[in-house]
């Protein structure tokens, strides 16, 4: 940065880049796009969870010659969708592993005619016993995947865990569970695909990761890179739900397009999207913790298991993030985390904001409150005695470089929430009140960017070019689906180039036009991709300076003139920048040791909850979210990210329940899968603590996933304070509160305290 130069664009709430089109209703989403000769596609699915297809019949009352029909026999090469493994078939041939497996694809010019045809196809089955829970899967009766129903397992160890139990004043156990959660983007999954023998496959669609789809299409059709073109169109929400599934839908549409020799649009309706596409992995976490008499964590054992559904998809990486986040923002002298992703006969579970971390953090932060109760400390004091500090080592052995003081964040959060006064007030008022109120909080961290060596493997590339129209165009495959990608990358480019925000435009992600800047996941866009945009900008300045077109201390007008001059002379001005890992960052995939993430975001969330003892209905009355996310690039967008994540977290805690019946989502309508309305979400108070991170764009770390981690445990901690009942599963529905409150004998099911419980002397 030039001396004396002041940042003017980064840190400002500039207007959302594509915002005007959005508020005017002019943005074109996939279902808004028509193409000449286009037909519509639909999917015939299995209706049993586990078994084999015996026969498929096409009854004669449907004029099948009007339709294009695709089955597994039409797949030109191998029948799989490329994710991490190749176990996920594109269309079921014989083996059925979940109730929403696609078997037949149909296309017709009139979309109204498709439904009757879909319903008419008769599939005869041989039924087999299904596996629907983690416990079913562990029993291996039957084995439905691999040798032992396990997609992936990890062992993460630090210190000598086996030696901690003998000296512990308390050994405290608990079991915690979380349910599936639907991403519930308001725009359903949809794509349009075209296939030509000469040009290959083109897909336009609602998606997060164009290059994931690109890879899947190359594999499915054995096409070279340049014969597959993927274009992301305006995307109406994703939250992880459009990370891997668009590869499936694109494969289906492309197979139909290939046979129909015309473009095919496939847009799911809400019922199909809810039933057939991915959701957050259900989980079970078991904690066993050794604690000293003064409330210090001596060591712990955590067993973390997630339900991956029928195919491996992204479960291994979801499990990885959940594993690394399981110990939370605390210092553990010794810890062992055993983690596994299990197969069941449910539709595959997938990415959803937080990606495994909300599950394991829910368990830990409920467990910390439980420990506090046993040890006789307040939830606050227990955490203060155990926060990890700069220079200490994490569970993966990473020496923490972040300048972090969790005590300060906790102080601020509790003050903003008026925690102490309200806690006192509620304790006094609750006995005489039908509505019980309580305060709860959760402390947590979230790693920014891909886990471990992920970013090294990705080796992302971004481009920046000058256009003939006098604009600077950012070239990335990073997608905008509401988070603000276009805006913050433009801010970074404008700031680095020292031009105006309006001088920068962002190329719509199109694999023919943009390099692979990696998937839009893992809270990596601002930190990693933003940094690459920054270095590309510096590269452009250097190019222009070295060619003598630009002086030091240039003005915006001089810069734009230099670009124009360069274009005139050379025809193009385009700079690429590729990822380089920050120095001293190492990760060992084999031992699961090292620097899990280059940086972490840190947070304390406080919830005020009220439980009505007439209706057993819980509500969140107030919410405070304080976080350290490095540099905030755009305060309004950043607040929006946190508020939106908190609202989803509130849903995860007390509203959003997927009701399973033998692997089928029984409540697959918006009327019956309940998300919070404007009448249900409390005021959400968002505060940022800024500690710029050297290797992120202008100091930015990740922000997108963080707010999903804290609400559920904070809310259930508040509900425990309100009711005195420890609920250890989310979502917590009124029916669950009713069951617990009306249980005649007060039996503490779990968590249990085992030997040598209470043998130590309490610290107070």
């Amino acid at each position: 940065m030039a001396p004396g130069f002041k940042e003017t664009i980064v840190g400002k709430s500039v207007l959302r880049k594509e915002g005007p089109e959005k508020v005017l209703g002019q943005s074109r989403y996939i279902d808004d796009i028509e193409m000449p000769e286009m037909w519509h596609g639909a999917t015939v699915r299995t209706r049993i969870a586990h078994g084999r297809v015996k026969s498929i019949t096409f009854p004669s009352h449907i004029p099948w010659d009007e339709f294009v029909v695709v089955t597994a026999a039409d797949i030109p090469f191998e029948n799989y969708i490329a994710h991490i493994l190749k176990d996920h078939p594109c269309l079921v041939d014989k083996e059925i592993r979940h109730p929403e497996e696609p078997v037949v694809l149909l296309a017709h010019p009139d979309k109204q005619r498709l439904r009757a045809a879909v319903d008419a196809v008769e599939i005869e089955y041989e039924k087999l016993t299904g596996v629907f829970t983690i416990e079913d899967s562990e029993r291996m009766d039957p084995v439905i995947w691999g040798a032992d129903n396990t997609f992936k397992s990890y062992l993460m160890e630090k210190g000598d865990v086996d030696s901690v139990w003998a000296d512990a004043a308390y050994i405290i156990e608990g079991e915690y569970r979380t349910g599936a959660q639907e991403q519930l983007y308001i725009e359903n999954n949809g794509v349009i695909a075209e296939f030509s023998e000469t040009d290959g496959v083109t897909v336009w669609g609602s998606m997060q990761c164009p290059y994931y789809v690109h890879h899947a299409m190359m594999d499915l059709f054995h096409l070279p890179e340049d014969k597959v073109r993927i274009v992301q169109v305006e995307t109406g929400g994703a939250f992880g739900g459009k990370e891997d599934y668009p590869s499936v839908l694109s494969a289906h549409a492309a197979l139909l397009a290939r046979k129909a020799k015309r473009p095919i649009k496939m847009v799911y309706d809400r019922m199909e999207d809810l039933a057939a596409t991915t959701k957050r992995h259900p989980s079970r976490t078991r904690h066993k913790t050794a604690v000293s008499k003064d409330g210090k964590l001596l060591g712990g054992e955590i067993e973390f298991a997630i339900d991956g559904g029928a195919y491996a998809t992204l479960s291994a990486v979801v499990l990885s993030r959940g594993t690394i986040h399981a110990p939370g923002p605390y210092f553990w002298p010794a810890i062992r985390v055993k983690a596994k992703a299990m197969a069941t006969n449910c539709p595959p579970h997938g990415a959803f904001r937080g990606f495994g971390a909300p599950q394991s953090i829910f368990a830990l932060e409920r467990h910390m409150d439980h420990i506090a109760k046993v040890v006789g400390l307040t939830p606050e004091e227990l955490r203060r005695r155990n926060f990890i500090k700069t220079g200490q080592t994490t569970a993966t052995g990473q020496t923490l470089q972040d300048k972090i003081d969790m005590n300060e964040i906790l102080d601020q959060a509790l003050t903003e929430a008026d925690y102490h006064a309200k806690r006192k007030q509620f304790a006094k008022e609750n006995p005489a009140s039908a509505v019980k109120r309580g305060m709860g909080f959760a402390c947590f961290f979230h790693g920014a960017g891909f886990t471990g060596s992920g970013e090294r493997y990705l080796a992302s590339i971004v481009g920046l070019e000058a256009t003939a129209e006098g604009k600077l165009r950012v070239l990335v495959s990073s997608t905008e689906f509401g988070q603000g990608t276009n805006t913050i990358l433009s801010q970074v480019a404008a700031e680095a180039l020292r031009v105006e925000y309006d001088d920068v435009i962002v190329q719509r992600p199109d694999t023919n036009k943009v390099p692979n800047s990696g998937p839009t996941v893992a809270s990596r866009t601002a930190m990693v991709v933003g940094k690459l945009v920054h270095s590309a900008a510096l590269g452009m300045i250097k190019t222009l300076t070295e060619s003598g077109l630009l002086r030091e201390g240039y003005t915006r007008e001089e810069f734009l003139a230099a670009c124009a001059a360069h274009l005139q002379k050379h025809g193009a001005l385009k700079v690429l920048s590729q990822y380089e890992a920050p120095p001293n960052i190492f990760w060992d995939d084999q031992t699961y040791r090292g620097d899990a993430y280059p940086a972490y975001a840190w947070a304390v969330y406080v919830a005020e909850a009220a439980v009505d003892t007439t209706t057993y209905f819980s509500e969140v009355k107030n919410f405070v979210a304080v976080q350290e996310v490095g540099r905030v690039l755009n305060p309004v967008l950043a607040k929006g990210q946190i508020e939106g994540g908190v609202a989803q977290g509130i849903g995860y805690a007390i509203y959003e329940k997927v009701i399973w019946k033998d692997g089928v989502m029984a409540n697959n309508q918006m009327t019956n899968y309940i998300m919070a309305t404007s009448a249900d979400v409390p005021q959400i108070h968002v505060h940022f603590v800024e500690a710029p991170f050297e290797y992120g764009a202008y100091g930015a770390k990740g922000i997108g996933e963080l707010p999903m981690d804290g609400p559920a445990p904070a809310i259930l901690n508040a509900i425990e304070e309100a009711t005195g009942i420890a609920f250890n599963e989310c979502p917590l529905m009124p029916e669950d509160v009713f069951e617990a409150m009306t249980k005649t004998a007060h039996t503490e099911e779990q968590p249990v305290v085992t030997e040598p419980a209470f043998t130590g002397v309490g610290p107070r």
Partner: protein, 162 residues
């Protein structure tokens, strides 16, 4: 069946089955794709339009029941690409993220502000409860609508003082 109504100030006649959803008529026949489908069962409000000045879910209106009606969609909220004050506030306050609920939300906000020029937070929460937003947690939307209300009431106050 020929069905006529006025959309965004223009008289339109379409030839559609009488039970066609108004949503599909607007999107497919009139190419007004600003109106979105989120759920198809009147739950999410993405397809909200104004019919005779009242907010309705266009996925639940049979075309025949729109015969003779005056309809306003998101395309009718702006004039020559100029944003309305509500649209401006949505943009400034960060009330639009992914944008898919935005057209319906803007119409619901418009309807609310017609009913209550200076709405309380309770009125805002109730008035928008039929429009689901998965991105924002509603806070930026509340702010946008509240600020519109504030400006409207200031406007009313100053014009009243004249």
């Amino acid at each position: 069946m020929a069905i006529s109504f006025v959309v965004n100030g223009e008289k339109k006649t379409v030839d559609v089955p009488p039970m066609s959803r108004l949503l599909d008529v607007l999107r497919d026949d009139l190419h007004l794709t600003g109106t979105k489908e989120g759920c198809g069962e009147g739950e999410c409000g993405s397809c909200s339009v104004l019919m005779n000045g009242e907010l309705v879910n266009s996925c639940l209106v049979p075309a025949l029941q729109a015969e003779g009606a005056t309809i306003c969609t998101i395309e009718g909220m702006s004039k020559n690409g100029e944003m309305s004050p509500i649209q401006k506030k949505f943009l400034e306050c960060g009330a639009a993220q992914c944008g898919i609920c935005t057209p319906g939300m803007v119409l619901a906000a418009h309807h609310l502000l017609q009913k209550y020029p200076s709405p309380t937070m309770e009125q805002i929460r109730e008035g928008l409860a039929g429009n689901l937003c998965r991105c924002t947690g509603y806070q930026r939307i509340f702010e946008a609508v509240a600020e519109c209300g504030k400006e409207q009431s200031e406007l009313i106050a100053t014009s009243g003082a004249k």
